[in-house]
């Protein structure tokens, strides 16, 4: 099993957010997590990525059969966990090229490999840019600086393609996207799906799941997964709303 979350309890500043969440993800699977605002979806994403502002009060997260509670954020990333941010951060003065090259080389160094040769790196950048139909010249641009909402999200998928994660968590990647951008982003994700990796897709709306068809859909409510099912569950949610799942 790629990811196994057992009875996870998480709080921030004394406020309990996740209240006994369990989730199993195998390679080759796409899981959608849906739910209303403030139920802990983004917290779950951040906690898997290793954000230290949260306190883990109980339960465990096993990734590739390792308890990762002691792993730094960068170690998790280098072990293949990728978080696509709901609000990608602008980093003025750090160029996309420098940023991506540093990230790739840190991973290679972590895996005991030599740094990527520059021509290979530039070719890879070009190839992955096309995957998400990015028009922008990245060479001289700072990370996310001056990017439109759509460009920022494309840039997240672009980085995912560059880093080739085993577990990708997409935190509300569809929010703020127009239909064209949604299609591009979804196509990118679909092309990256393989039997070796897995996706957790966090979203409010069923709309994204028309493009990225999930194997499983989970309803997260009040810090717990209250219902799991297949893609039909998403349609049911769209129709009836979340009210029916509140217990």
């Amino acid at each position: 099993m790629l990811l196994q979350i057992k009875n996870l309890h998480v709080s921030i500043e004394g406020k309990e957010i996740l209240k006994g969440l369990s989730l199993n993800v195998n390679r080759g699977e796409v899981h959608a997590i849906m739910g209303p605002n403030g139920t802990g979806k983004s917290t779950l994403a951040s906690v898997i990525a290793g954000r230290d502002i949260f306190s883990i009060d109980g339960g465990e997260i096993l990734y590739k059969n390792n308890d990762i509670s002691g792993w730094s954020v960068d170690k998790r990333a280098n072990e293949g966990i990728f978080l696509s941010f709901q609000y990608p951060v602008e980093i003025p003065g750090v160029s996309m090229v420098n940023f991506m090259k540093t990230a790739i080389n840190e991973k290679r160094s972590y895996l005991g490999q030599d740094p990527i040769p520059m021509p290979e790196f530039m070719a890879k950048m070009e190839e992955k840019k096309q995957l998400v139909e990015m028009q922008a010249k990245l060479t001289n641009r700072s990370v996310n600086e001056g990017f439109s909402g759509g460009e920022k999200k494309k840039n997240e998928i672009f980085q995912m393609a560059m880093l080739e994660p085993e577990l990708a968590i997409l935190d509300e990647t569809d929010s703020g996207l127009d239909i064209d951008a949604l299609r591009v982003v979804s196509n990118g994700v679909n092309k990256l799906r393989s039997s070796n990796n897995a996706f957790i897709i966090i979203t409010h709306y069923q709309r994204l799941l028309d493009y990225i068809v999930p194997d499983f859909v989970h309803v997260l409510y009040d810090g717990k997964i209250v219902k799991s099912g297949t893609k039909e569950l998403a349609l049911e949610l769209e129709e009836k709303g979340y009210e029916n799942f509140k217990k």
């Binding site: 990525a49 730094s72 960068d74 951060v89 980093i91 003065g93 750090v94 840190e106 991973k107 700072s142």
Partner: protein, 446 residues
């Protein structure tokens, strides 16, 4: 009166007796009177938070020593074509350049006419370090660039110390640029030994109509060096002056820049970075005086302060009554890397004209936590993420450099400084080239 004051006064007396230039002699005497009345008082705003006593209570060699067997060292800038001149131990000028199309000599050798503007910009009563400099300077660069002269290659003016004793230097530079001329100057202070130094340096610069000056000032000195550098610039109509201050290392550093825009259309742009850590102190005092209409000025100063270090930025823009249509802006940004690091930033505007556009701003903060997390989430270690962010922060200023080899060199030095590679050895005067840096631990005195 402490022993340093006594020995400085004795030195000034000797220099006044020996001075052949009557107008300079007069200036020296007036300045010495002024110094005698002043208190070695460092409680003023000019010395906020400075532990200058550490440096002033020491015994320094002040008398002029014969300079022999100079192995002058040039600040290493790869691939730069420049003409270099040296001032050794504050008094001996070495200038092997020929046909520069300008006059470059030792300030102590100037004629009566050439000295007409000497001490015209630096008022002795403002600070006892100014008065003692005027009274007791032992040498310095005198640069005279005629009208209609374009000096193609940058001029490197390097002041270097090779005396074994702890030394106190009063160095005085005078730069006169005629009308319609252009010059780029790189000023560095350096030392080839690791003892205590106090460098009191004044540069007066007069820029003629339509002339253009780029002035680069680099500080890469040991932690046992105190340097007080004061630059006074007077600009005539439509002249443009860019100054760049790169403060990489020094035990104590005070850089003062006074720009007077005395005629229409003059423009003054100043950029500075300061990287301060351990128990270092760096202070930047900027004073821009808009005295004529249609002038422009801009300052961008950025600093990173770590450990127990102290930094000060005191920026002052005065727009005088007649200086209508002035455009002036001033920005100071700081990043504090430790709980105990401290910066005092005081942007200050004084406006007496009514049709002007002025702005100023200051920030003091920490590294952006969101950006750090974002980078870590891409696999970048927290150390490397910090370095990327700090380099990006300083990069805005580095990007303003016009001379490519200096830009490359500065960017490289800043990276090394932020990686801790420049301060591997506490007492090391930082002059190592890349190759030397690799085995810096072996070469440096612990």
């Amino acid at each position: 009166m402490n022993s340093l004051e006594k020995s400085l006064i004795n030195l000034a007396d000797d220099l006044i007796k020996a001075e052949k230039n009557s107008s300079v002699k007069q200036k020296r005497m007036e300045a010495l009177d002024c110094f005698a009345k002043q208190d070695f008082n460092y409680k003023s705003d000019n010395w906020l938070n400075a532990k200058i006593d550490v440096f002033l209570k020491r015994q320094y060699q002040t008398s002029i020593k014969e300079v022999s067997d100079i192995q002058a060292f040039s600040c290493e800038i790869d691939n730069i074509e420049s003409n270099a001149a040296y001032l050794v131990n504050g008094n001996k000028l070495i200038n092997n350049n020929k046909n520069l199309g300008l006059q470059l000599s030792n300030i102590v050798d100037v004629t009566e006419t050439e000295a007409s503007t000497f001490a015209a910009a630096a008022a002795s009563e403002d600070d006892c370090l100014y008065s003692i400099n005027t009274a007791a300077f032992t040498g310095g660069f005198f640069l005279n660039i005629p009208d209609n002269t374009v000096v193609e290659l940058p001029l490197q003016l390097i002041s270097v110390n090779n005396q074994q004793e702890d030394s106190f230097y009063n160095i005085r530079n005078l730069i006169k640029i005629g009308d319609n001329s252009q010059v780029k100057i790189i000023q560095c202070d350096d030392s080839v030994v690791d003892n205590y130094l106090f460098i009191n340096n004044i540069t007066e610069i007069f820029v003629g109509k339509n002339s253009h000056l780029d002035l680069y000032k680099m500080y890469n000195l040991s932690n046992s060096t105190a340097v007080v550098n004061s630059i006074f610039i007077e600009q005539k109509a439509n002249s443009v002056v860019n100054t760049y201050n790169f403060e990489l290392n020094a035990g104590l550093l005070r850089s003062k820049l006074v720009s007077k825009l005395i005629e229409q259309g003059a423009e003054s742009y100043s950029f500075g970075i300061y990287l301060v850590d351990k128990q270092q102190y760096m202070s930047n005092l900027v004073d821009v005086e808009h005295l004529a209409p249609n002038c422009k000025s801009e300052q961008i100063f950025k600093g990173i302060v770590d450990d127990l270090a102290r930094a000060v930025f005191n920026g002052k823009i005065v727009v005088h009554k007649d200086a209508q249509k002035t455009i002036a802006s001033q920005v100071n940004r700081n990043i504090l890397l430790s709980e105990k690091a401290k910066v005092n930033s005081k942007p200050y505007l004084e406006i007496y004209a009514d049709d002007v556009k002025c702005s100023h701003g200051t920030t003091v903060g920490q590294l952006n936590e969101e950006a750090l997390f974002y980078m870590q989430a891409r696999g970048i270690s927290v150390e490397n993420a910090r370095r990327l962010l700090l380099n990006a922060f300083i990069g805005e200023v580095i990007d303003k450099i016009h001379i490519e080899p200096i830009k490359v060199r500065m960017s490289d030095l800043v990276k090394k400084r932020l990686n801790g590679e420049l301060s591997k050895c506490n007492n090391c005067i930082i002059r190592c080239s890349d190759a030397q840096l690799n085995d810096a631990d072996d070469n440096c005195i612990e």
